[in-house]
C-alpha cells in the first residue's frame, strides 16, 4: 500500500504522476531529455545506466522497467542487461561504457565519491564532456526517481514479465505524461 492516497492498481511512478501531475510534467520532460534527447550515448546505453543505478538503489520498479526498456532497445544484444545486473559481468561492454558505469555507481553512493581519476579513466576510454555530463545526471536523477518511488512505497509489480509492456512502451514512445 502506498503511503499516500494514490489511485489503486497504478504502479510505481505513474501513480505519483497521476497524484501530482504538476510535478509529473517536468519529471517526464527531464526523463525524456536525458534518456531520449541528443546525447553521444545511445538510448540503450542510457537505459542501462538508469537500470544499473536503480539496481544499486534496490528500486525494483525502476530497475525492472528500465532494464526492460534497455532489452527492447538492444534487440539481439539484450543478454547484456542480465549480464550486467545479475552476473555483474561487463565483458560485453566497451571500455568507455565500463568507465561510465563506474562513474554512475560512484554517483549513486554520493556526488563526492566521483574522483578525478574516474573521470580520467573515462576520458582515456574516449568519453567526452557530454558523455560524462549525461552519465552523472542520469545517475543523479535516478537517485531521485528511485527515492520518490520507494519513499512513498508505490505499487511494485513482481517478476520481470510484468514489465514487458511497460518496457516496450518506454522504448517506443519515450516519456510523456
Amino acid at each position: 500500500m502506498a503511503y499516500i492516497q494514490v489511485e489503486e492498481g497504478i504502479p510505481g511512478i505513474r501513480s505519483l504522476f497521476q497524484f501530482n501531475p504538476e510535478t509529473g510534467g517536468p519529471l517526464c520532460d527531464l526523463a525524456q531529455a536525458l534518456l531520449r534527447g541528443p546525447s553521444p550515448l545511445s538510448a540503450a546505453e542510457r537505459e542501462l545506466i538508469a537500470a544499473y543505478v536503480s539496481h544499486r538503489n534496490g528500486c525494483m520498479f525502476c530497475m525492472n522497467s528500465h532494464a526492460m526498456a534497455a532489452r527492447c532497445l538492444l534487440g539481439d544484444q539484450q543478454h547484456i542487461v542480465d549480464e550486467i545486473l545479475i552476473e555483474q559481468n561487463t565483458s560485453a561492454l566497451s571500455a568507455k561504457m565500463k568507465s561510465l558505469l563506474l562513474i554512475a555507481g560512484k554517483v549513486q553512493v554520493n556526488g563526492k565519491s566521483v574522483k578525478a581519476e574516474d573521470i580520467e579513466m573515462a576520458r582515456n576510454a574516449g568519453a567526452g564532456d557530454a558523455d560524462i555530463h549525461d552519465t552523472v545526471l542520469i545517475a543523479a536523477s535516478f537517485s531521485m526517481f528511485n527515492r520518490y518511488v520507494d519513499g512513498l512505497n508505490t505499487l511494485t509489480p513482481s517478476g520481470r514479465w510484468a514489465y514487458e509492456e511497460m518496457g516496450k512502451r518506454m522504448s517506443e514512445k519515450g516519456y510523456q505524461l
Binding site: G111, L137, A140, S143, M144
Partner: protein, 188 residues
C-alpha cells in the same frame, strides 16, 4: 576544478544548467514548483527540507545556498537554520516539520528507509498526503541536485558573504533562467 568544461564564472548548479539547457528547463521548473509554493508547507519549510538534505549529503554549495534562502524567508533568523542543521529534533520548529524532516532524512538514506511509522507520525502531527508527497519529492530532488553539483566537481564559492546576495535573487525572482545566466554576486 569542474570535471567538464563549464563556464568558470558560474558556481555550482548554475554552471551545469548553462552547460545543458535542455535538461536545465525541467530542472528549473521542478525547483520552482517544489520550492516556491506556500500552502500547508511554507516556502521556508520547503527550503529547510532542501537545505537539510543537502547538509546530510555534504553538498556545501546547496547546503549554504538553500540555507541562506531559508534565512531570507525567516526574516533573518540564522539561529533557527543552524539549529535545524545541528539537531532538528531540538530546534524551535513545529512538531509537524520535525516529523517531515525525519522523513526527508530517511529519503536521503534511501527510499526504502522510509517506514510506515515515519508516515504515521507525520500524519499524527497533522501532515496531509500532499505535505508528505512534497517532502519526499523535495528530499529526492535534492539527492539529485547534490549529486549533480558534486559529481561534476563544480565550483562552490568560498566567500560566504556572496551567498546571502544570491539568495536574495532567488527570493525575489524564483528559480527561473536568470539563475544560470548570472555569476555569483560579488559583495561590495
Amino acid at each position: 576544478m569542474p570535471y567538464i568544461d563549464v563556464d568558470k564564472n558560474l558556481p555550482g548548479i548554475r554552471a551545469l544548467l548553462a552547460f545543458s539547457p535542455e535538461t536545465a528547463a525541467p530542472i528549473g521548473a521542478l525547483a520552482e514548483l517544489l520550492l516556491r509554493r506556500s500552502d500547508s508547507l511554507s516556502m521556508a519549510d520547503r527550503e529547510l527540507i532542501g537545505m537539510y538534505v543537502s547538509y546530510l549529503n555534504d553538498c556545501f554549495y546547496c547546503n549554504h545556498s538553500h540555507g541562506e534562502i531559508a534565512i531570507c524567508y525567516l526574516n533573518g533568523n540564522r539561529e533557527l537554520v543552524d539549529a535545524v542543521r545541528k539537531d532538528y529534533r531540538q530546534a524551535p520548529i513545529t512538531e509537524k516539520l520535525k516529523s517531515l524532516l525525519q522523513i526527508a532524512a530517511k529519503v536521503q538514506q534511501g527510499g526504502r528507509s522510509v517506514l510506515p511509522r515515519d508516515i504515521e507520525q507525520a500524519k499524527e502531527q497533522g501532515a496531509s498526503d500532499h505535505d508528505i508527497h512534497d517532502t519526499v519529492l523535495i528530499a529526492a530532488t535534492f539527492c539529485m541536485m547534490n549529486r549533480y553539483v558534486d559529481g561534476l566537481a563544480t565550483i562552490a564559492p568560498q566567500d560566504m558573504s556572496s551567498y546571502p546576495l544570491r539568495a536574495k535573487q532567488i527570493v525575489e525572482k524564483g528559480y527561473g533562467n536568470h539563475i544560470f545566466l548570472q555569476p555569483q554576486p560579488q559583495p561590495l
